[in-house]
């Protein structure tokens, strides 16, 4: 029995089944906090702890699912291509919005953590939280932060952004599909993009664009902005 529970097949079957059920729940009630990814992650955490399955055994099967993230990100090139007109027409606006969002994200994440008493190493590890996992981990590694902490923070940020994003944007009166997509991708990388795709193709395309551009900007800006912040906080 233990052999079955710790097999990759069990990990894959349980992940798919729980996600399927979570989607059904979300389809029926459609409440933001019932986000299928959030529910599935929490349920599976409970399940592997309850059944005492070591995380590595779950991950041995889970990797076959997360492997598809690579090709899926490449697939974002299709909606991006189909909305090139919008991107060309609003290139300047999009660049300004994404640059501002990227700077605001890095400064507010690291700055707030610092003001609330976090150590320098935590400030470094939290700074690129809105970038996609491999980019964020690469940045933090170079700056001598804790890349594994960053990996955790990036996933939390993604789930958080996907859950609260649409509500926050509606609340702020952001109704333009382009603006909605860019904001979701800039704040919550791939998870924000998956939520943006639910709203429509243009939202998804813009979110994919934001994920890409924000990643590049975050990699370029984080070292400089962190240096300034650290000097400022240690006056």
């Amino acid at each position: 029995m233990t052999e079955l529970l710790t097999s990759p097949t069990f990990a894959i079957a349980s992940t798919l089944l729980v996600y399927w059920l979570a989607q059904k729940v979300y389809a029926r009630w459609s409440l933001p906090f019932l986000n299928p990814v959030l529910i599935t992650i929490l349920a599976l955490m409970g399940m592997i702890q309850g059944l005492q399955i070591p995380y590595e055994r779950y991950a041995a099967g889970g990797q076959y699912i997360s492997f598809w993230l690579g090709p899926a990100v490449v697939a974002l090139g299709v909606p991006l291509y189909q909305h090139l007109d919008t991107i060309k027409r609003q290139g300047v606006a999009i660049s300004i919005a994404l640059l501002a969002g990227s700077i605001a994200g890095i400064v507010s994440a690291a700055g707030l953590a610092g003001l609330l008493g976090a150590s320098d190493i935590i400030m470094i590890s939290i700074a690129p939280k809105s970038a996609t996992t491999p980019i964020a981990m690469g940045i933090v590694e170079k700056l001598n932060g804790i890349p594994s902490l960053t990996a955790a923070i990036v996933v939390i940020t993604g789930v958080l952004g996907a859950v609260i994003g649409p509500t926050v944007l509606r609340w702020l009166g952001v109704i333009s599909p382009t603006a909605f997509g860019l904001a979701m991708g800039a704040a919550a990388h791939g998870l924000g993009t998956s939520r943006a795709l639910e709203e429509g193709e243009i939202q998804g395309a813009m979110s994919g664009l934001a994920l890409c551009v924000n990643g590049i900007m975050t990699a370029a800006l984080t070292p400089v902005l962190l240096k300034i912040l650290l000097v400022f906080l240690h006056r």
Partner: protein, 113 residues
Amino acid sequence: MIAGFSIIFICLLIGEGVAHLLRLPMPGNVIGMVTLTAALMLGIVRVEQVKPVADGLLKHLALLFVPPGVGLLLYGDLLKTAWLSIGVSLVVSTIIVLGVTGWLQQYLERRHD
């Protein structure tokens, strides 16, 4: 179907190759996304060839984040050391990024029109 998967995996391979060779801080999949867009723009690839597979993958994008999400279990102790500063800054900063990016884009595109 096979054509679509072949094209997507070739773009991913190119992306990973470029990232590795040029030692870029960008992941291969993001470069692969740009490669696919460029191939479509240049007419090397036609939309009909990749669209069905791309749509299928993107429809279930959220599911692919589940296993790394469950991996958060491993970082419980690490996160506990500074949960308040991390938690507050993540929530506030996420709202700030959403607001700055979304609001600014909407303001600029309305002014343009």
